[in-house]
């Protein structure tokens, strides 16, 4: 894994609260190679967004981030803020879930897209303008000359997300983190945006960390998938391998609770119970209280993340047993 573009090991992010620190991310390790698309899936509260914000170090000051986040071999967590800033928007870019609020309502589109360029590239005014127009064209926005002068509220949600993507692509980053980029959009628009992302990624040989709760999106977009539950990685591997042969009861539970689009309708098989709250985490395997196969050990000890087959890891006592056998 030495060719990893991004390598996170044992990331623990916690928030200060009434009753001490609450672990939103509890020891996550993952890595991305250049040009690779990895999906990070999980339900709300599983820590996937916190993980992405930890990489960018955009968390509020009440958050404590530990572990290491190496980007091209350099530990971002050990850097000072001005040094981290050189990466943000330049080497690593990010797009967010809500295109409605992620753009500044009082700044012109053109100025906003130009912002990362201004921060990281020395360009003349002319060059800046041309680059912005080019970016807008790249993300498929019609009439770019006109759009640069407009304000976000004049655009539709899909258009705004394209603007966000244009902004993220401005400095041709090596890694793009897309945090639920299509959740707020309609399916037809989602399809457009996903297409765009795929196209841009291929063109720029950019790594993409796609954070989503939608397994369908992962299946369509990603090579690898990392499944998170309650702040921990429970399963990780090649998309086909994970979807065809889910090892963790949570992963298979998720897959089973989605209604099928094809074939006969069958009764859904939901996962029982609810996602545990941060303040109230089970001591052992965090999925144990909801797991149909839970055993005693599951309630007391947390399983480690083990390889079950090449590149397919799972964190489950059942898998450990299989491996042990």
């Amino acid at each position: 894994m030495s060719d990893a573009l991004l390598e996170i090991s044992d990331l623990r992010t916690s928030f200060k609260s009434e009753s001490g620190y609450m672990n939103a991310v509890a020891g996550v390790s993952l890595s991305l190679r250049a040009g690779e698309t990895v999906g990070l899936v999980g339900e709300s509260g599983c820590g996937k967004s916190v993980t992405s914000l930890s990489i960018m170090q955009l968390l509020p000051k009440t958050a404590k981030v530990e572990g290491s986040i190496r980007f091209q071999g350099k530990d971002l967590l050990a850097m000072k803020e001005p040094d981290v800033r050189k990466f943000r928007g330049n080497e690593i870019s990010m797009i967010f879930q809500e295109p409605m609020t992620a753009l500044n309502p009082v700044l012109r589109i053109g100025d906003q897209i130009a912002e990362p360029l201004r921060m990281h590239k020395k360009l003349s005014k002319r060059e800046l303008h041309d680059r912005v127009i080019e970016l807008l064209k790249q993300v498929g926005i019609p009439r770019p000359e006109q759009i640069v002068k407009e304000y976000p509220h004049q655009l539709s949600g899909g258009m705004r997300q394209r603007v966000m993507i244009a902004m993220a692509m401005a400095c041709e980053p090596k890694l793009l983190i897309a945090d639920e980029p299509t959740t707020a959009l309609d399916v037809t628009v989602q399809a457009q945006i996903l297409d765009l992302l795929r196209e841009l990624q291929a063109r720029n040989n950019m790594a993409l960390l796609l954070i989503t709760h939608d397994l369908g999106v992962v299946a369509e977009m990603c090579e690898r998938v990392i499944v998170m539950y309650a702040g921990k990685v429970v399963e990780e591997g090649d998309v086909r391998s994970v979807f065809r042969n889910p090892q963790h009861p949570y992963t298979s539970g998720l897959l089973n609770s989605i209604p099928k689009l094809i074939g006969e309708r069958e009764r859904l098989q939901p996962i029982r119970g609810n996602v545990p709250s941060l303040a109230n985490m089970p001591p052992g395997c965090r999925f144990a209280p909801r797991c149909p196969h839970a055993k005693d050990i599951c309630h007391t000890n947390h399983p480690s993340l083990l390889d079950v087959e090449a590149g397919h890891k799972v964190s489950c006592w059942m898998a450990e047993e299989v491996a042990a056998r």
Binding site: L261, I262, R265, I271
Partner: protein, 322 residues
């Protein structure tokens, strides 16, 4: 499937756009424009469409939570649109609604027991003891512990709250429940619990559902028939499975093709729509979809297609089929 519980004919809801010094009405947002369908007793009619297509407005206009601008809604042979406020209030017992946001749909100041008893109080039904008993049994029926009655909404998770919302809708023994995106705000793992619950309740209480959602796979799963809306109009209506297997309208086709399938081996031909959804304040003339339709012809730009049954039980509004 012969007797209609709900008949909606030519339902319209226009919101005026006011402009200028005198706030004159210069136009209308046609949120619901001439929609007709029937819902049979005991069935689930799914309504799908993208945001802004008017599906929620339609749901609320049917219940007259919003006053419709035109058209007729017949519920068990009573014309709701003509009903006085008083009689409407009485009739509301039979029609209930479950909302999308489990956080906003329960009054945070009341205990669950109070929230569930309130409908019975409003209509003066049952004695206090009976009400409590009924609340307990409803909670249980919806998969919650009866002790929940003593708690406040903020002590529950989203899924649990949605169960409470459903329980509230059931307190008055309704025959029709409008489900307005009931699972959209929930996590996948919880969403399926609620869907199963809804299915169970429908069977137990022979309920009729009007299920409004944007998630096509959920709608497919729960609905007997599905209506597809676009810019305030129904584009297509058919049996659920038929619609998914053989969609007629180009919009339906595009919509269905856009859904990502959680199966890495299924690679489908995607119909990418051009451009954005037109503004409902200024919908295109003719067929509202013609601006983005791959099959659009000249006639589509000028003439509004008629809503017609092209196959038994399969309605569509498209010039391709006329």
């Amino acid at each position: 499937m012969s007797d209609a519980l709900l008949t909606v004919s030519n339902l319209k809801k226009y919101f005026p756009i006011r402009k200028g010094v005198l706030r004159r009405t210069v136009g209308h947002v046609k949120a619901v424009d001439d929609v007709s369908f029937t819902v049979q007793k005991g069935e689930t009619l799914g309504i799908v469409g993208e945001s802004g297509c008017g599906k929620s407005t339609m749901g609320r206009s049917i219940l007259r939570l919003i006053e419709p601008t035109g058209g007729e809604v017949k519920f068990e042979n009573t014309n709701l649109t003509k009903l006085s406020k008083g009689s409407l209030r009485t009739l509301r017992q039979k029609m209930q609604i479950v909302f999308q946001d489990p956080y906003a749909s329960l009054n945070p100041k009341f205990k669950i027991g109070t929230i569930l008893e309130r409908p019975m109080q409003i209509h003066g039904l049952y004695t206090p003891a009976e009400r409590r008993k009924r609340v307990a049994s409803l909670l249980e029926r919806c998969g919650l512990d009866p002790s929940a009655a003593e708690k406040y909404p903020n002590e529950f998770s989203g899924g649990q709250r949605q169960r409470i919302g459903i329980a509230r809708a059931l307190t008055l023994n309704p025959s029709l429940i409008v489900l307005d995106e009931p699972v959209s705000a929930l996590d996948v793992s919880v969403q399926s619990q609620i869907i199963n619950l809804l299915e169970d309740l429908q069977e137990a209480f022979s309920l009729t559902y009007l299920f409004i959602a944007h998630d096509l796979s959920v709608v497919r799963h729960i609905s007997d028939r599905i209506a597809v809306m676009y810019l305030g109009q129904t584009m297509e209506l058919a049996e659920s499975l038929e619609l998914f297997e053989a969609p007629l309208h180009p919009y339906t086709q595009a919509l269905l093709s856009a859904i990502p399938v959680p199966d890495p081996d299924v690679k489908r031909e995607r119909i990418l729509l051009r451009g954005d959804l037109p503004s409902p304040a200024n919908p295109p003339a003719g067929c509202p979809f013609h601006t983005r339709c791959k099959d659009a012809k000249d006639i589509c730009k000028t003439k509004k297609p008629v809503w017609k049954e092209v196959r038994p039980g399969h309605h569509v509004a498209c010039h391709l089929y006329s």
